[in-house]
């Protein structure tokens, strides 16, 4: 998608110039057509980034049952980037859930911008980072529940790792960003936060490289078959690995599986047991440079540097003391002795021991934080340390979370963006930009600068547009795309208008939801166009009432006038027969909306007129005739009566004009009609005059009747 950034060493340019463009990705399109298929492929974009591909089979004379082709819908770079979350319904749930935090944050942002404008001062950063953290936590909670691998007391003591919900790397990625960018208050505790992060997500590395998690899983599988664990190198290896990455609860739990704890052994292995327990106690008393620990986790917390320093020195002194203790000599179990000593080396921060206890550089990195450099702070020194760990434990290929972490440590926004986009997809990047911009000024400038190369939009906007495209391509998520599009100040509305236009307006439900969105964002022209499309569709598909209704809503005078003419013919034809009843409802609908009905107002009056004429025919005489006469005058006076209807109206009224008993129209009324007739004769000379299908003598017979009526009226007056 546009906006994909490629990592580069030169941080001043976004994309390194390369004369050879990147090789395009190759997709293989699956279809169940039997070969051969023709090379001619028809393509059409649907909404968003869904591409409809039509494949044809060649025209062969052979008779087989194969169809002539297939249409396949291809969603490009959508929700499937993160292959761990391949459940479309779950993806939609994340998409729905992120709307509200995103929208609230945008509102807050606008409100704060307004406030700072008002006070002519920069907004207060502290307040803002509070909102960003709130936002980050809300998004984080959507990505899955917090993984806990904490063993409880009641359960099987041999279950070291609990089976919990598979952690997602999406959540892991988001938490990394949160730790570094959103959670500013906790910056002094970043190392400890990373230790926690690894304990939640170390399992994610297992698929791609060795990890402590994998080691523990393998050991746990073997555990049930092992009689005396302390004789197994795997047992000690598991303990030292868990200790190196700071999973103290697991270490203590494993240590207590040691054979010397068994009741029948206590007597003979007293010292040994004492040493094991001493190590276990030391492990559980480890000072931690953090505010608090979740329940079940071990260690002692210190949230100020000097207290921690004191405790740390004291603790290390205890370890050294134990290390030099004479009890070791009394320990007869050699493997226990060696391994416990090894654990002490880990606690004392022996680089070599830590390196051999951990499986990859991130684990070694955490071990450094825990046992060697608990005060590491500042991204620069953290980055140097990370580089050192990579040198000590080189990996052939880096996991995407590792790449993301390195990008963050390197303070290279472009790499972070590229990793978010490449590894986690459009959802991640659209939402993560808020964290990035809150994280650093450099990132904010990079993301918000308007670029000519992007058609005048910023990188942030381009990512939102891309995500909106993903939302647009699904029938259930397109309705939330407007929220993201509206936050795109430059191109958002343009894309929103196209998205709304591409909705099937002739489906009532879709149309109504469409109108609601248009109402929200004041897109009146878009909604009236949708109503117009619906109106024309209904009208042409035999639903005349719905057609007129929607065209009225769209205030489409031109089409309504055309319809009025059609209806005129229709009503004129059917007025006498019983089907007239059916028109009542439609005419009712037209009646009250005279303002928008255009020529249809005329139809309403015409209906009344025709009805009176009908009554005359039925024998209800004088009174009806007078009413009909009045209706005729009203119609002829009314400017909304189209000129082409004048003659048919008068022709229909011949009986009224020639009324036997007495003239129904007075002199002025008759003169009005005569004037209209005169006007009509003049109009007939113009080239654009539309002739109506009446007998050729119609005009002359009307004129004769009017003249007669005028004569009689003069006499009567």
């Amino acid at each position: 998608m546009p906006g994909i950034l490629t990592p580069s060493g030169d941080s001043s340019s976004i994309i390194p110039y390369s004369p050879e463009p990147n090789t395009p990705t190759l997709y293989t399109l699956h279809h169940d057509l039997k070969p051969p298929i023709t090379p001619r492929i028809s393509i059409s974009w649907s909404r968003g980034n869904s591409l409809r591909v039509t494949l044809f089979r060649p025209l062969t004379t052979s008779i087989d049952d194969e169809p002539g082709g297939k249409v396949v819908d291809l969603k490009l770079s959508g929700e499937d980037v993160d292959t761990e979350i391949n459940d479309a319904a779950r993806w939609r749930r994340i998409a729905y859930g992120s709307v509200s935090p995103f929208a609230h944050l945008q509102n807050k942002k606008n409100a704060m911008a307004a406030l700072s404008e008002l006070r002519h001062s920069a907004p207060y950063d502290g307040e803002w980072s509070k909102y960003v953290l709130e936002y980050s936590k809300e998004i984080n909670s959507l990505l899955g529940s917090k993984k806990t691998s904490l063993p409880s007391l009641i359960e099987d003591p041999k279950t070291v790792l609990k089976n919990v919900e598979e952690p997602s790397s999406l959540k892991a990625g988001w938490e990394l960003l949160e730790i570094f960018y959103a959670n500013k208050q906790s910056h002094p505790w970043i190392p400890e936060q990373l230790v926690d992060w690894l304990s939640d997500y170390d399992a994610l590395f297992s698929g791609q490289m060795p990890s402590v998690h994998l080691r523990l899983v393998e050991f746990q599988a073997d555990l049930i078959n092992i009689q005396a664990v302390e004789n197994e190198p795997a047992y000690w290896q598991a303990i030292s690995s868990a200790l190196a990455v700071g999973w103290l609860d697991i270490v203590v739990k494993l240590l207590r599986l040691h054979g010397s704890y068994q009741l029948n052994q206590l007597g003979t292995r007293e010292t040994e047991n004492g040493l094991v327990e001493a190590v276990a106690v030391l492990v559980s008393k480890m000072p931690r440079m953090r505010a608090n620990l979740p329940s079940g986790k071990l260690g002692e917390c210190y949230n100020n540097k000097s207290d921690f320093m004191r405790a740390w020195e004291k603790w290390r002194a205890q370890i050294t003391k134990l290390d030099c203790s004479a009890f070791w000599l009394q320990c007869s179990h050699n493997q226990t002795k060696e391994s416990l000593k090894n654990l002490l080396q880990i606690l004392l921060g022996n680089t070599g021991t830590l390196s051999s206890a951990t499986c990859n550089w991130v684990e070694l990195y955490m071990a450094h934080f825990l046992y060697i450099r608990p005060f590491t702070s500042g991204l620069e020194s953290m980055y140097v340390l990370a580089q050192k760990c990579i040198q000590l434990k080189p990996a052939s290929s880096l996991h995407k979370l590792m790449r993301l972490m390195l990008g963050i440590l390197e303070e290279n926004t472009e790499v972070v963006l590229a990793e978010c986009s490449r590894s986690f997809g459009p959802w991640m990047i659209a939402h993560a930009t808020e964290l990035l911009t809150a994280g650093s000024v450099e990132a904010e400038i990079l993301l918000k600068e308007e670029r000519d190369n992007l058609g005048g939009i910023s990188i942030e906007e381009s990512h939102r547009l891309v995500y909106a495209q993903v939302l647009s391509s699904h029938a259930l998520t397109w309705q939330i795309a407007p929220i993201y599009l509206i936050s795109c100040v430059k191109h958002g509305v343009g894309l929103l208008e196209i998205l709304l236009y591409k909705q099937p307006a002739y489906h009532s439900q879709v149309l109504l939801k469409n109108i609601e969105i248009c109402r929200m964002y004041d897109l009146d022209n878009v909604s009236s166009n949708a109503m117009k499309i619906a109106g024309v569709h209904h009208w042409k598909h035999g639903r005349k009432g719905a057609g007129v209704f929607w065209l009225q809503q769209a205030r489409d005078e031109i089409r309504l006038n055309r319809i009025a003419q059609k209806l005129f013919d229709f009503v004129g034809k059917s007025i006498s027969d019983e089907s007239f009843e059916q028109w009542e409802g439609l005419i009712e609908l037209l009646g009250s909306e005279s303002r928008t009905a255009g020529g249809l107002e005329f139809l309403h009056k015409y209906r009344d007129f025709k009805r009176s004429l009908q009554q005359i025919r039925d024998g209800v005489l004088n009174d009806a005739a007078r009413k009909a006469g009045d209706a005729l005058i009203l119609l002829m006076k009314n400017p909304s009566t189209p000129q082409r209807f004048w003659l048919p109206l008068l022709f229909d009224s011949l009986k009224l004009l020639n009324w036997q008993e007495r003239p129904l129209l007075n002199v002025s009324q008759t003169n009005l009609l005569l004037n209209k007739l005169q006007e009509l004769s003049v109009a007939r000379l113009r080239p654009d005059f539309v002739e109506v299908g009446l007998p050729p003598q119609a005009l002359s017979s009307v004129r004769l009747a009017l003249a007669t009526n005028l004569g009689r009226a003069i006499l009567e007056e």
């Binding site: 293989t28 169940d32 001619r40 492929i41 169809p67 591409k502």
Partner: protein, 325 residues
Amino acid sequence: MEKSMATLEKGTICSSWNYCSLRLATGLVDGTIVIFDTSDPASSSFTSTFKFKVSDERVIKVVWAPPEYGDAIACICSDGSLSIWEEAAEDSENVQWKQCACFGGPMDEILDGQFGNSMSTLKLTIAYSNGLVKVYEILDSMELNNWQLQAEFQNVTDSVAKFGKASCSSASISWNPQRSDDRPACFVLGFKSDTPQLNSPKVWEFDQDHQRWLPVAELAEPDDKGIHVYTLAWAPNIGRPYELIAVATSNGISIWQMASMPDPSGRLSVEKVAMFPCHDNEVWQMEWDMSGMTLATSGTDGRVRLWQSNLKGVWHEQAVIEPAT
């Protein structure tokens, strides 16, 4: 991530989706049109709902009319005719497809036809094999059977020059997709013909004041003006200060930027921003996505290619889609 949507009838050779991608019209070799629909807007399984014969010749192209004018298609057949068919129910009859109008034929062969998107009226541009372009306009917005010839011209920038006896084998028309009456109606047209002057893509704009069409830009460099144009695609513009038009010629695919506003001479300045040679691959179709950010092309190599611009504004081939064999 692909999903099968519809299975086509034997002998299908072309297809076209309507404005909301919820109706599919396919053309068959025996002159039949098959329409596919879904039962509801969220569904993606299409079944055939209408089948009718529009010609005895093969249907080579189907184009949907803008939805403001109903559900209608224009079918271009191999005999050079273009017929307009509309779905309607008349006087309590069932819904059916009826022919409304027909243009061209064996003596007056049509190569391409495209509907415009002006909000107030429906225009239809037709390109003929003799190198002529005709623009028709609808007379009654509720009827598709009354068309008036509004203009007739040749695809040349010099209005004085006339070229008789041109012989064109294909033409491509692409309207500016923006549906607005604020901007004049505008389309781009190119030919594949034996008359070099006709070939290069020219942008035509309707001059409302004088009721005439004017060439406002030419999308060709001086030395390849006579090159054969296979197909053209005008990108939707959601806010860029310039227009983007993709041109496929025998030299390859090129992407042009065109100014939205004319210079003092009334011309729109153009710039070729990308050129991709396509060896032995004749581009058949080009489509822009709704944001105008991605261009999809298909050609004689049997592959679909996606083209995008990166953050530096450099266009590149993003992906290749190849049907499994």
